[in-house]
């Protein structure tokens, strides 16, 4: 099938390449595409069409039309006409049930016609309603093109790269290269993007094969380079996308053997293939007619040339059998042929320009749409700007002939002339509506082949001209792009503490809290909780947000941010603080330790750290106080050593007096623990005597190990997040976000002592004053189940058959042997001993309201 060696052919005949197609081995040469190698091996049918499953061949052979899309090595919808051959590649036809030659779904083409007009799934298949699930299953099976490889996400990796350049040239044709060269000569930094694989050039950078998929706001040009998506920002964008060969609309125009001139030119010139035996050429421009010379040289006899400029026929139709072209009928004359080259002239590829904001207007004289009014940073050169040879304006459609098939406006979506006419008759007479209804221009070719012909058809049917019809809005993507490329690399950020590996070694069950990985529990949550009550436990709390607030205005700054007072705190003391917004809402909580006159150490919740830091920085920007905040969250590790025997353990390791007098409840002291410089905060989130150690995170594992080693005889055991949640619930310590929501404020959450409403100002003061004035609507309380059943978190509280609150936390306390929890209830229920009913498993369970902590209500153990 190959011609003898040609002068400028692209193939290297000394380097054969073999790949698999439909169970056979196909041999091509280096320089071939999969499509050209298949064509050379005799393959003419490359796909089955979207809806009617008609045979389709290499219509454009330049990566524009949908006719050659196949699955290559698991990747669906690869245009094989531009995909270079690869040794050992596995190539499969898609959208067929059976084979390309015997596709069972082709029945739609024979019988489906009257039943499957445009939008048939909205109409024909809608009744009876009860059958819709059946229809839907069928439709979903046959709809779409290609099948996704479910494991592809693991086998391919996509990256995104941000790039800048002075000049970005899109298109590597003659005009594009000229523009790139002259810009480079003027000393500009130039990148040229070409989808065909333009050769490198010394003067500027060439990215090829790569496709610009759009021009977005701010001049952003994403470029698809296979596995990398370049996000280009250029000072100047030069669009040199050339012009697109337009098909003609006549019955049988989709038969295998009907080609655009470019397809024939490439087959002969680049791959030395004889495209057929007997050819007919119908062309609106010189370029199309010039293909005749190439065909003659390839040994194809050109039996008829029809020049639409001088003698346009009225009738033009193609007849075929088994989907292949057999003859062309021109004004009553039947000409046998197996190759029909059609050209409706060339249309500037203006889409990218239109996306950038250019106006597109119809030039009636030349019969093309031309871009104008370009934005100042965008330039069009060559054919894309409308510089091209004159051509005839072809008829919207040609008269048909007996035995000729359908006349296709859009080969991607199988939309026929009849479909468009019908849509217009139904009232979809504007091109934008018609486009959406018929889906013409919405297929894989993105309107390259069907946009202008459909406008011509709309103009004729509406008895107006193309100018009045106008174009549809051009939107990205201009070229097909894989979703994987848009998604980029799978980013699942994970934060691990510096002690993380110790938890894994200890066999902890890990869980997500925000981006953090934390130990849920090590073996048995209840036992870990009990061990804290009876001996000593240690938990990794490095995930806490840690901020240093420093400067002459530090106290004032914190007093403005928090409802609490901090100016009166002694150096070395700690206070619990709740952060609120001006809406009065609780946004975070934590402890504030005064380390010096002008220095405070603030901790936040684990998941709220980033928000709080931004919040601090923002108010600091607003107020402009003389204060700096430093985020130490990652720099410092923290562990909480808790339990009645924690003092004994710390006494062995710390360089300070650990007696109750040496460091009492809510004291902060800087010292050495096991030789590591530490800030010790004596606080009690878990309700037992406890010390939170904050220290440089690189010492994490070392200090963890030291605590476990020196506490071994005291029965020390690590405990996870779940036992901590049990322990804090026994103390009714709230978890922001668990027990509070976007409506919660400190007053109704039962912490009125936090809000110092006599302060002149603080964020949220006015809202809290308003809450006090209007009275409480609900209150956060504790509850204890009478029968031991643990209600679900979020469970409803009912009073007299009406909702009266909701459960926010609930656990079985191993220490107390009771089911306990916290809940928001109506104020009249917020008193000690009030009886409430909680919905549990469809029935109700009785509970009693508790206002004081379930465990150690007076805090004696904390202070001991």
């Amino acid at each position: 099938m190959r011609l003898p060696e040609q002068l400028n052919e692209r193939i290297d005949r000394s380097r054969p390449v073999r790949f698999f197609f439909a169970g056979r081995v196909v041999e091509g040469f280096e320089g071939d595409t999969i499509g050209s190698a298949l064509f050379a091996s005799g393959q003419r049918v490359f796909s089955r069409s979207f809806k009617y499953h008609r045979r389709r061949g290499l219509l454009c052979c330049s990566g524009g039309c949908p006719n050659c899309m196949m699955r290559v090595d698991g990747v669906p919808n690869v245009r094989v006409c531009t995909e270079p051959v690869r040794e050992g590649a596995h190539v499969h036809a898609q959208n067929v049930l059976g084979s390309l030659e015997h596709d069972l779904l082709a029945a739609v083409d024979h019988f489906g016609g009257p039943f499957t007009p445009v939008g048939f799934y909205y109409r024909t298949m809608i009744r009876p309603r009860s059958l819709w699930p059946l229809y839907e299953r069928f439709l979903r099976n046959v709809a779409g093109l290609g099948r996704l490889d479910k494991h592809a996400g693991r086998t391919r990796r996509f990256d995104t790269e941000h790039r800048r350049t002075e000049v970005l040239v899109i298109g590597g044709g003659r005009s594009g290269r000229e523009a790139a060269r002259s810009a480079a000569a003027a000393g500009r930094q130039v990148v040229l993007v070409d989808e065909r694989g333009a050769p490198a050039d010394g003067a500027f950078e060439v990215l090829a094969p790569a496709r610009a998929i759009g021009i977005y706001e701010g001049g952003l040009v994403p470029v698809d380079a296979g596995n990398v998506l370049y996000r280009f920002r250029a000072e100047r964008i030069v669009v040199a996308t050339g012009a697109l060969e337009q098909p003609l609309l006549f019955p049988g125009n989709d038969l295998v053997g009907v080609h655009l001139p470019g397809a024939v030119r490439r087959l002969v010139d680049e791959w030395s293939i004889k495209p057929g035996e007997r050819a007919v050429i119908v062309s609106a421009d010189e370029r199309g007619l010039a293909v005749a010379d190439k065909l003659e040289r390839a040994g194809t006899s050109v039996v008829e040339r029809i020049d639409l400029r001088s003698a346009p026929p009225r009738q033009l139709a193609a007849r075929g059998s088994r989907g292949r072209l057999r003859s062309v009928v021109v004004d009553g004359r039947e000409i046998e042929c197996d190759l029909l080259v059609m050209s409706g002239g060339r249309q500037p590829a203006y889409s990218l320009l239109a996306q950038a904001g250019a106006r597109v207007e119809y030039d009636a004289e030349r019969g093309i749409f031309v871009p104008s009014d370009l934005p100042s940073n965008v330039e069009a050169v060559g054919s894309a700007a409308g510089e091209q040879e004159p051509a005839a304006v072809p008829a919207a459609t040609f008269e048909g002939a007996e035995g000729a098939g359908r006349c296709f406006v859009c080969v991607c979506e199988d939309v026929t002339e009849k479909d468009v006419k019908r849509a217009i008759a139904e009232g979809f007479d504007s091109i934008e509506l018609g486009k959406r209804y018929t889906t013409v221009t919405m297929g894989p070719c993105q309107g390259r082949l069907c946009h202008v012909p459909s406008i011509r058809l709309f103009a004729r049917e509406n008895e107006t001209d193309e100018k009045a019809i106008g174009t549809t809005t051009a939107r990205p993507p201009w070229a097909p792009v894989s979703l994987g490329l848009l998604a980029g690399r799978g980013h699942e950020p994970t934060k691990r503490t510096s002690i993380h590996h110790r938890h894994e070694e200890a066999g902890a069950t890990m869980m997500w809290t925000g981006f953090w990985r934390r130990a849920h529990s090590y073996e048995h949550a209840a036992n870990e909780a009990l061990n804290v009550h009876r001996g000593v436990g240690v938990i990794d709390v490095s995930t806490l947000g840690k901020l240093l607030v420093q400067g002459p205005d530090a106290a004032r700054f914190l007093e403005l941010l928090y409802p609490n007072r901090f100016g009166d705190m002694k150096v070395g003391r700690i206070r619990y603080g709740v952060l609120g917004t001006d809406a009065g809402r609780i946004m975070d909580d934590g402890t504030i330790a005064r380390l010096g006159e002008d220095q405070y150490y603030v901790t936040t919740t684990s998941t709220g750290a980033d928000t709080v830091i931004e919040w601090f920085e923002w108010w600091n920007a607003v107020w402009g106080l003389d204060v700096e905040t430093v985020n130490l969250t990652g720099a410092l590790a923290a562990v909480n050593v808790a339990g009645p025997r924690s003092r004994e353990l710390l006494g062995r390791l710390a360089q300070i007096d650990t007696s109750n007098e040496g460091i009492s409840y809510l004291d902060a002291k800087e010292t050495y623990v096991a030789g590591v410089p530490c800030l010790i905060l004596r606080i009690g989130f878990v309700g037992e005597l406890g010390y939170e150690l904050h220290f440089a995170s690189p010492y994490g594992e070392y200090l963890w190990d030291a605590l476990l080693e020196y506490g071994a005889d005291l029965g020390i055991r690590p405990f996870g997040l779940e036992p901590q949640r049990i322990l804090r619930l026994e103390k009714m310590h709230i978890l922001v976000g668990q027990d509070t929501d976007s409506e919660s404020n400190v007053l109704e959450a039962g912490m009125p002592w936090i809000a110092k409403l006599d302060k002149e100002d603080f964020v949220g003061k006015w809202a809290l004053e308003h809450v006090q004035e209007r009275g409480f609507r609900e209150q956060l309380v504790g509850f204890e189940m009478t029968d031991g059943v643990v209600p679900a978190e979020g469970g409803q509280i009912v009073l007299g058959g009406r909702p009266a609150g909701r459960v926010t936390s609930s656990r079985l306390s191993p220490q107390l042997g009771r089911a306990i929890g916290m809940a928001w209830v109506r104020p009249e229920l917020a008193h000690e001993g009030a009886e409430i009913d909680i919905k549990v498993n469809g029935g109700f369970a009785r509970a009693c309201v508790r206002l004081k902590p379930f465990f150690d209500p007076e805090g004696e153990r904390l202070r001991s």
Binding site: A583, E614, E617, W618, G624, A767, E769
Partner: protein
């Protein structure tokens, strides 16, 4: 949104690096009545035109700054660091 924003610290950067905290509002000087409080906390002018707004360079230098942006075109006319004396503030 794919425009560039000029960080006063880092220069022009992709908008994806930033967080927008909405229009600049004015925090009442003294205790507002309920309507005044509600307006301040919940209501925004939402102009179709040039708007002064807060931006945070979240994936960059982590600085807060002010920008004047045309909400219709996303054209950023100006960015600047807040003045210490500004006295204007925003709601959360």
């Amino acid at each position: 949104m794919s425009f560039l924003l000029n960080c006063p610290n880092c220069g022009p950067r992709d908008v994806n690096e930033f967080a927008c905290a909405g229009e600049v509002t004015s925090r009442p000087k003294a205790l507002p009545d309920l309507r005044g409080l509600t307006d301040y906390v919940y209501f925004r002018r939402n102009v179709a035109g040039v708007q002064r707004e807060w931006w945070y360079h979240r994936f960059g230098c982590e600085i807060w700054f002010l920008a004047e942006r045309d909400t219709r075109t996303n054209e950023v006319l100006k960015t600047e660091l807040p003045q210490a004396s500004a006295g204007t503030s925003s709601a959360g």
